[in-house]
């Protein structure tokens, strides 16, 4: 069985079925790494991820891109292994080796068959990649050229232009404004030494979170966690990031682009992963623009008026307050109409909050859909990683539906009012409508 049964008392509004959550085991490895493990033998495979606080927010502004390239080059050469040895080694056993990278986290993840032959080989490669990367000079030169090519391409894409301008407007000088892959000018200057220095400072065992899900025993999981982290550099924890300035001035940028649609982003700093208002904001946003076809934004913009294919809002919960962002794309000629509509929708939501009926519907969806959040090894692995990395309680999944159920309309209104000020938001419009082009520079 994938899950253990855990009965939670049915609440007054939303009849909760018997909910089940995985049994999370947790310990600290001798290396100092934090480990979260769910043992499950349904499928003869193993998923492992190792996450480190080594995302793009740890870059220095003039070296933007170092964190990303450090992560990118990990599996392109390690002690005793060429990049091709690594790629071939994993492919020969059908293992999938990948990673993810964001402002907070740099992660490597492995999916392999759990037979000892495949598993041991895959873990051996992963251990060396994580702990003995080489950052070869020639490969850095090649990969820099590829990153720069991708950055140049991104500078022609309305969605990328909008995102970059938005992050800058929301975060100013804070490192969350730094593009995750760096800037063309800063990437050009990056050296092997930069990568080695960054690696030594940020790939510390003490900061590592190991998530393990699947067909191994507790004893095997302990050995795996130790194997993957025992040779990570030992360094002092880096100084904490500066705080995010929560209140930003209202701004509006209109950036010309030949695309037929305008790409519109509106937002401001939102909430941190451990914000006490996490659940009211999460549930509230579900109603506003996170709940798919039934959200207010979707209803106003798409269902009632046909103004856009996609319209959404979300909070990006990070270590420090990540962005609250609202976005859509629409034909240039109607961009101003659509922008006004989403602003009005947001303002009304913040002033009045959701209705009881909307809140009930949102709770029904989130609580009723809870089993879908943990119905595969992949999804559970991701939760393990997040719970470990952001220091969420180990009972996070057990508590989830109860926390959602406890949210009320007043809490949502209150939490939004304290976090989001519609009068002080950044707006970016790429592919701005021609009729409004002369508004360039005019404050709104």
């Amino acid at each position: 069985m994938l899950v253990k049964s855990l009965l939670i008392a049915a609440s007054c509004c939303v009849a909760a079925a018997a909910l089940a959550t995985p049994n999370i085991q947790h310990w600290q490895s001798a290396s100092g790494a934090k480990v979260l493990f769910v043992e499950n033998h349904d499928i003869p495979m193993l998923d492992v991820s190792v996450s480190l606080p080594a995302g793009s927010s740890f870059d220095a502004a003039d070296k933007s891109g170092v964190a990303g390239l450090t992560h990118h080059l990990l599996d392109l050469g390690a002690e005793g292994l060429s990049e091709d040895d690594i790629a071939r080694g994993m492919a020969d056993i059908g293992a999938q080796f990948g990673g993810s990278f964001d402002p907070d986290r740099a992660s490597m993840s492995l999916r392999t068959l759990s037979n000892a032959a495949e598993r041991d080989k895959a873990l051996d490669i992963m251990a060396r990649v994580l702990q003995r990367p080489l950052f070869p000079e020639a490969i850095l030169a090649r990969e820099k050229a590829r990153v720069i090519a991708a950055l140049k391409e991104a500078e022609t894409k309305p969605e990328s232009i909008a995102d970059k301008a938005f992050q800058k407007a929301v975060y100013g000088a804070h490192p969350y404004a730094l593009p995750v892959s760096g800037e063309i000018a800063s990437v050009e200057k990056i050296t092997v030494q930069d990568l080695s220095n960054f690696y030594r400072a940020h790939y510390r065992a003490g900061g590592a979170v190991v998530a393990i899900m699947g067909d191994v025993t507790r004893a095997q999981a302990e050995a795996i966690a130790q194997q993957l982290t025992e040779k990570l550099p030992s360094a002092d924890a880096p100084t904490a990031l500066p705080g995010v300035a929560m209140h930003i001035p209202a701004s509006e940028q209109r950036i010309a682009h030949p695309a037929s649609q305008s790409h519109i982003l509106v937002g401001a700093p939102g909430m941190a992963r451990n914000d006490p208002d996490y659940f009211p904001l999460y549930v509230g946003n579900h109603i506003l623009g996170g709940g798919g076809f039934v959200s207010r934004l979707m209803n106003e913009v798409r269902e009632k008026r046909g103004l856009a294919y996609s319209v959404y809002s979300y909070f990006m919960p990070l270590k420090q307050p990540g962005a609250f962002q609202l976005g859509l794309q629409t034909k240039k000629e109607q961009a101003d109409e659509a922008l006004q509509l989403v602003r009005n929708t947001l303002a009304e939501f913040i002033t009045k909050g959701p209705t009881e009926k909307e809140l009930l519907a949102a709770k029904q969806n989130i609580i009723g859909g809870f089993p879908l959040r943990i119905d595969s090894n992949r999804k559970i692995l991701d939760y393990l990683s997040i719970i470990g990395f952001y220091n969420l309680p180990l009972t996070y999944l057990d508590d989830f539906t109860r926390r959602v159920e406890q949210v009320n309309v007043a809490q949502i209104r209150d939490a939004f009012a304290r976090h989001i000020n519609p009068q002080a938001m950044a707006t970016v419009i790429v592919g701005a409508p021609p009729a409004s082009a002369d508004k360039n520079g005019a404050a709104k």
Partner: protein, 453 residues
Amino acid sequence: MKAYLFCIALLLGVAQPAAQAEVFERTLANGLKVIVKEDRRAPVVVQQIWYKAGSMDERTGVTGIAHVLEHLMFKGTHTVPAGEFSKRISAAGGRENAFTSYDYTAYFQQLHKSKLPLAMELEADRMRNLNLTAADFAKEIKVVMEERRLRTDDEAHGLLNEKMMATIYQQHPYQHPVIGWMNDLESLTVGDAQAWYRRWYAPNNATLVIAGDVKADEVFALAQRHYGAIPRRALPPQRVFIEPKQAGIKRMVVKAPAELPHLVMSYHAPTLQDPAQDWKPYALQILAGVLDGNESARLNKHLVREQQVASGAGAGYDATSRGPSLFTLEATPSEGRTVDEVEAALRGEIARLVKDGVSVEELQRVKAQVVAGEVYKRDSLFYQAMQIGQMESIGLTHRAIPVMLEKLQAVTAEQVRQVAEETLQDDSLTVAVLDPQPLSGKPKAPQGVSHAR
């Protein structure tokens, strides 16, 4: 949301003969085929209904109607008002969407297993009771146009692909984009949608796939209760198009705002007709794996890492589709290199393949991934259901899935070489090039833009 899929590549991973999860099938009296995959790992279920009607069944002038109808399927029936379908699924904790391809249109919901009756009730209702109004159509066609602008008109690679397909196929309806030509979208009417719905939305033109923590017998009874009363309908014959044989290389250029050029080489290729007897489609799948199936595959290793002529390169082939298939090679030149150079490099790979074939190690590596992929597949209920629905909708059967896996394992190195030689011929090749255009003198980066406070 309401995404359309261009074509879903059946991954190299096909199914294991001794799949642990059981598959059961029954056809109702009205012709609806019901397939159940039991999988009790989690208390969830997915319902997918697949209609054998995709954009390839459209005719000139009404392209895009299959996908437009897919959008309109959320607009209500005589008893379930507009928007209510999504609200009820949402209130049941469900996730839902739909997709349209060249070959089929499918709708799905994922929910707690106790909510399957609700999902069936709603899905069965809109199979026959859709309430199409001119007002809903007028709004939704605008949404589809926005979708087209987003995915194709403003997307250089989307545009390149659309124009390439229109060049590759002279007669076959794959020449038309799934989302439809803008000019057709502008002239479509609610009557076109009504006609499409009446023509294709019938139980005897559909496959219902249910996967999850369910019992097959109970699902069959439930399906009978909800879908059983829907009358079968006479279906129009599905016209079979035989694309006239290409008689020489075709070359084309698409200019669009972008930074990097891109080159795609597409060769006509066979599809799987007889899973037990065919060998070429399997050999082509292995070939695609040798070229681009893993990080150490030839295109990445040779073109990107060693020669550094490309900043990215790939190969693709889909063995299973209703219409003809393509074997595709593509690459983006590195800075300072040209599309001619990447074409020469790709041709160099082909020449080497045809001359020297593939090594035993390469073959084993690709097969190892097929075997592992079979195990990994079991982690995704949705994907397992997809595979079944897709096979049924293109004229094969889910029973072919284990056969395909065995046949893939049996491919020899010489077969891979031979199929490369036969397939990768200039006379059946279309070369499409993206010629990147500057953003018409506008600032490329936001730095130069006034920033009002």
